[in-house]
């Protein structure tokens, strides 16, 4: 039974098109599919078999059931801004795009929660409730465009999670389509601590390998009475990172505590949102404190003192909201800004105990020297979440491989000091092998065992998150081949 307007012999395209309402909700031409061959992680590219655009949970469930019945690999995709390749169709998957499910279903300010569809864009939630004095706390840098569904899959963080926690701390309920098409509801009515193993917590951050989230109940917060942001320039990185530790040790919990090094500053200053950071500075700290206005001034004074004691060159508070917004735009577009000083970059996402910052930065510097690639550092210094950006040019043979090696070495450095390989970007395809830096085989098996409970056929987003046991050599090879094929 052919579907009107669909020009292919692939019967599954017709089969799927029927489930989502015809040709306007499915893509299958190669020229269209190319746009879906990668997400924000561009090193691995694979074409999907098709992309379907369901409008509601029932359509998602139907598509999932169809794929399960016909043994078609499939995966879910939001805005495709993930940085670890979680939405790349490694096995010619059918992509279930959730971007047309972008409604804000309800807002319940009294009880501080909102219900959204997975394709709803993160920042739009805050924008919809801002006039009534509320906001949604997790604020990944991509919040202008990333979807909350994707945030749940990746357990997204953001600049302000130092004080307010990451996505998992703000999810109250989920509606999930399991890999066999069954619809379940976790955290009914958004009430916490539902009896039973915490599947809500498990699902959050499972990178789309356990089920497809179709409805999300999130916690929303009241805007702080006041916010103040301080910018501090340091002539050496050690002073900057010491200042970070000192601020925390002084008993201040900043809403955000961000740092950029010299190379990163060069990037953001050359890009779309420059703010005039001095070129010769080694590190800039962006410190934000929020809360009750009368208490904030006291904390700001303390922060200024701490910075002064650590030989700050210049430190000042934002004059007004406009300046504050400019500083943040400069910081939040930091990754993309690297495009302005390098044709390609690879961003890593290690986390380290805050106190080990200086030595890890030193090690990264060494890695940069060893590989001959520049590495910019942008990071959430407050919670030790490091984003080394390895700058390279994919057009030069061998550079991509070198960049991958450098990135991996940075993660090893983080793991070596008791840290981890990813704080908010997820493992995806990119860091499958690096999982071994932090987990023993038994620990990885313990996790794949859980996946089997939800996703026994492994049709949903296979090949992500875990190294293939005993095949690590092959995975590396596969990765290399993929690169060379580009």
């Amino acid at each position: 039974m052919a579907v009107k307007g669909i020009k292919t012999k692939d019967k599954h395209i017709h089969g799927l098109a029927k489930l989502v309402g015809g040709q306007r909700a499915i893509l299958y031409h190669k020229e269209d599919l190319v746009a879906y061959d990668c997400d924000g992680f561009t090193i691995h590219k694979h074409l999907p078999r098709a992309v379907v655009f369901p409008k509601n949970t029932e359509e998602v469930a139907k598509c999932v059931k169809y794929c399960a019945t016909h043994n078609l690999p499939f995966l879910a995709r939001g805005a495709g801004t993930g940085l670890s390749g979680g939405a790349v169709p490694l096995h010619n998957e059918v992509i279930i795009s959730l971007v047309r499910m972008k409604n804000l279903i309800s807002v319940d300010l009294e009880n501080r929660r909102a219900v959204v569809e997975p394709g709803f864009v993160n920042l739009k939630l805050t924008n919809s409730i801002a006039d009534r004095g509320y906001y949604y706390a997790p604020d990944p840098s991509s919040q202008y465009c990333c979807t909350i569904g994707g945030n749940v899959a990746e357990n997204a963080g953001g600049a302000h999670c130092l004080k307010y926690g990451v996505t998992t701390n703000h999810i109250l309920g989920l509606e999930v389509v399991l890999p066999d098409g069954e619809i379940i509801e976790l955290g009914q009515n958004g009430i916490p601590d539902a009896p039973g193993y915490d599947l809500l917590g498990l699902m959050t951050g499972s990178e789309g390998t356990l089920g497809i989230v179709t409805k999300i109940t999130v916690r929303i917060l009241k805007n702080p009475e006041a916010k103040k942001t301080v910018l501090a320039y340091f002539d050496n990185v050690t002073d900057g990172s010491q200042a970070v530790s000192d601020i925390i040790s002084a008993g201040i919990v900043p809403a955000a505590l961000e740092m950029m090094d010299k190379t990163a500053i060069e990037g953001v200053e050359a890009a779309a949102f420059p703010v005039g950071h001095p070129k010769d500075i080694a590190a800039v700290l962006l410190i934000e404190v929020d809360g009750i206005a009368v208490g904030i001034d006291e904390q700001i004074t303390q922060i200024l003192d701490v910075c002064t004691a650590r030989n700050v060159r210049e430190v000042r508070a934002a004059k007004n909201e406009e300046e504050r917004a400019r500083w943040w735009a400069n910081r939040k577009t930091g990754f993309g800004a690297m495009g302005a000083i390098s044709p390609d970059y690879l961003v890593q996402d290690g986390v380290i105990p805050r106190s080990r910052l200086p030595e890890v930065l030193e090690r990264i510097e060494q890695i940069s020297e060893e590989t001959g690639l520049r590495i910019a550092n942008i990071f959430h210094a407050g919670d030790g979440n490091l984003h080394p950006l390895v700058l390279f040019d994919a057009r030069i043979p061998g550079q991509t491989e070198k960049a991958i090696e450098a990135g991996s070495a940075c993660l090893q450095a983080c793991a070596d000091v008791g840290g981890t390989i990813t704080g908010e970007h997820g493992v995806g395809i990119e860091k499958r092998e690096e999982m071994r830096f932090v987990f023993k085989d038994e620990e990885i098996i313990a996790q794949t065992n859980i996946r089997e409970v939800f996703n026994p056929g492994n049709l949903l987003n296979a090949g992500k998150l875990f190294p293939t046991p005993g095949r690590c050599g092959e995975v590396k090879k596969e990765m290399k081949e993929a690169l060379l094929a580009q």
Partner: protein, 459 residues
């Protein structure tokens, strides 16, 4: 940074020209997509992505496709054409992009390839041809069409026009309403045919040349007149070079880069003596600032002249803002909202200047329009070639227009037509005006009041 020489001598596999499926001259510029890191920051800025949710209809998706053709992964064909031509060329992505990727430029270059390999066919082709080759470059034909209604009837837009009572957009309406502004029926280029310079009133501050535009001068000659008025009023001698022609924006948007180049060269020559080229149509200004792009690969000997030309081009609002203008004394007691024309805000980064002009007019109450820099769907002749998408973009635009305003001001004729259509279609009652018209109106009113005062004093 990578040394350019190294790449050229030793082309790595990804850049081997032999792989590329761009088989015609004037290739899309590799350096433009090299900066794109596929981060996705552009997605939400894109009206067509907002409406379709499909990545091939998003800026980074289009860049990705354009790059994929160069890499030989896909061919230049109908399927590739669709996303490339569905782009509104509104440049909102350029503003959103952290790495300043010139998506608009890439789109135009890719369209050039498509036009060369797949000459236009079907209804879309006929419409495009009628406008691009049949009308816009030919001033006399435009004139003989005698105005907007006929032009649009010819183009199959009759139905829309009938519904939309385009008269709302006509400056004539303003004239009737306030009986202040002079009636103008003649294109200014024709009117001032024999005047080499329209002299400044008072002490001259400088000389400028005015681009009268093709559509502008026929359908909106009042705006040109208003532009001349405010320029001379504020001390500029205005010249109207008679050899000037259509800026070519619509041709380049449509992929007809050869025509674009032809028109560009004629304008470069026509304005060669000008110190400053003043434009009151955002789309034209933006195009003229980008002439050099047309000569990147083809006829490169024109490249430097194009660069020099572009440096002289300025939007009228920015020129007034930068060189100073008199604050009118008469009040216009209206509630006004401002719509950022894409090619002014995103294309030329002119946002504050026109707002400043409006705010300087006594009595004007500015009302904020959310997402003011969102495309209205006009996009050159996009509303004619892709009416369905243009309609949806317009619908989403109109939702943002505040209910309680008297006028919507903007700096681009294409937007004025589209917004007028929106006002009509969604049962609104705002008047559509060009920013300089309002300023001129205030000046006219001021003079009328002064004359009246003098009169009464005399009595």
């Amino acid at each position: 940074m990578v040394k350019q020489a190294e790449i050229k001598e030793n082309p790595p596999c990804t850049t081997q020209k032999s792989l590329s499926n761009y088989l015609w001259k004037d290739h899309p510029d590799e350096n433009k997509w090299a900066d794109c890191t596929h981060c996705g920051m552009c997605l939400e800025s894109c009206p067509t992505y907002e409406l379709t949710g499909q990545e091939q209809h998003s800026p980074r998706g289009r860049v990705h496709l354009i790059k994929s053709v160069a890499e030989g992964k896909i061919a230049v064909n109908e399927q590739f054409m669709d996303p490339v031509y569905t782009c509104l060329d509104c440049r909102a992505c350029t503003t959103a992009c952290p790495a300043n990727v010139d998506v608009g430029g890439l789109i135009e270059e890719a369209r050039g390839q498509i036009r060369q390999s797949m000459p236009l066919t079907g209804a879309k082709g006929a419409v495009s041809k009628l406008f691009l080759n049949g009308i816009f470059p030919h001033q006399n034909r435009l004139n003989s069409l005698g105005g907007a209604l006929k032009l649009y009837q010819k183009s199959g837009m009759q139905k829309v026009i009938r519904k939309s009572k385009l008269i709302n957009v006509m400056p004539k309406h303003l004239v009737e309403m306030e009986a202040i502004m002079p009636k103008v029926h003649m294109p200014v280029k024709k009117k001032y045919k024999n005047e080499s310079v329209i002299p400044a009133k008072g002490t001259p501050k400088g000389d400028v040349a005015l681009l009268t535009g093709c559509v502008m001068d026929v359908m909106f000659s009042d705006i040109n007149e208003a532009t001349i008025n405010v320029l001379t009023r504020n001390g500029s001698n205005v010249r109207i070079p008679q050899n000037q022609t259509c800026c070519g924006a619509l041709h380049v948007h449509a992929g007809d880069r050869d025509s674009g180049r032809k028109l560009a060269k004629q304008n470069i020559k026509a304005f060669s003596d000008a110190e400053k080229i003043i434009v009151n149509a955002a789309g034209c200004g933006c195009m003229m600032k980008e002439y050099a792009e047309l000569f990147r690969e083809v006829e490169p000997e024109w490249h430097d002249r194009a660069v020099a030309f572009s440096e002289k081009v300025e939007d009228v609002s920015k020129y007034l803002y930068d060189t100073g203008y008199e604050k009118p004394k008469a009040s216009i007691n209206k509630r006004i909202t401002y719509h950022d024309a894409c090619h002014l805000a995103h294309g030329q980064n002119v946002r504050e200047e026109p707002r400043d002009i409006l705010l300087k007019i006594p009595g004007v109450e500015m009302v904020h329009m959310p997402n003011a820099d969102r495309c209205c769907g006009s996009a050159g002749i996009y509303n004619i070639t892709n009416p369905e998408m243009a309609g949806e973009v317009l619908e989403s635009k109109m939702k943002n227009v505040p209910d309680d305003v008297d006028m919507i001001s903007m700096g681009n004729p294409g937007c004025m037509l589209q917004m007028a259509m929106g006002v009509q279609k969604y049962g609104r009652n705002q008047k559509i005006v060009h920013t300089v018209q309002l300023l001129d109106w205030a000046y006219q009113k001021e003079r009328a009041e002064e004359e009246e005062n003098h009169g009464s004093e005399g009595n």
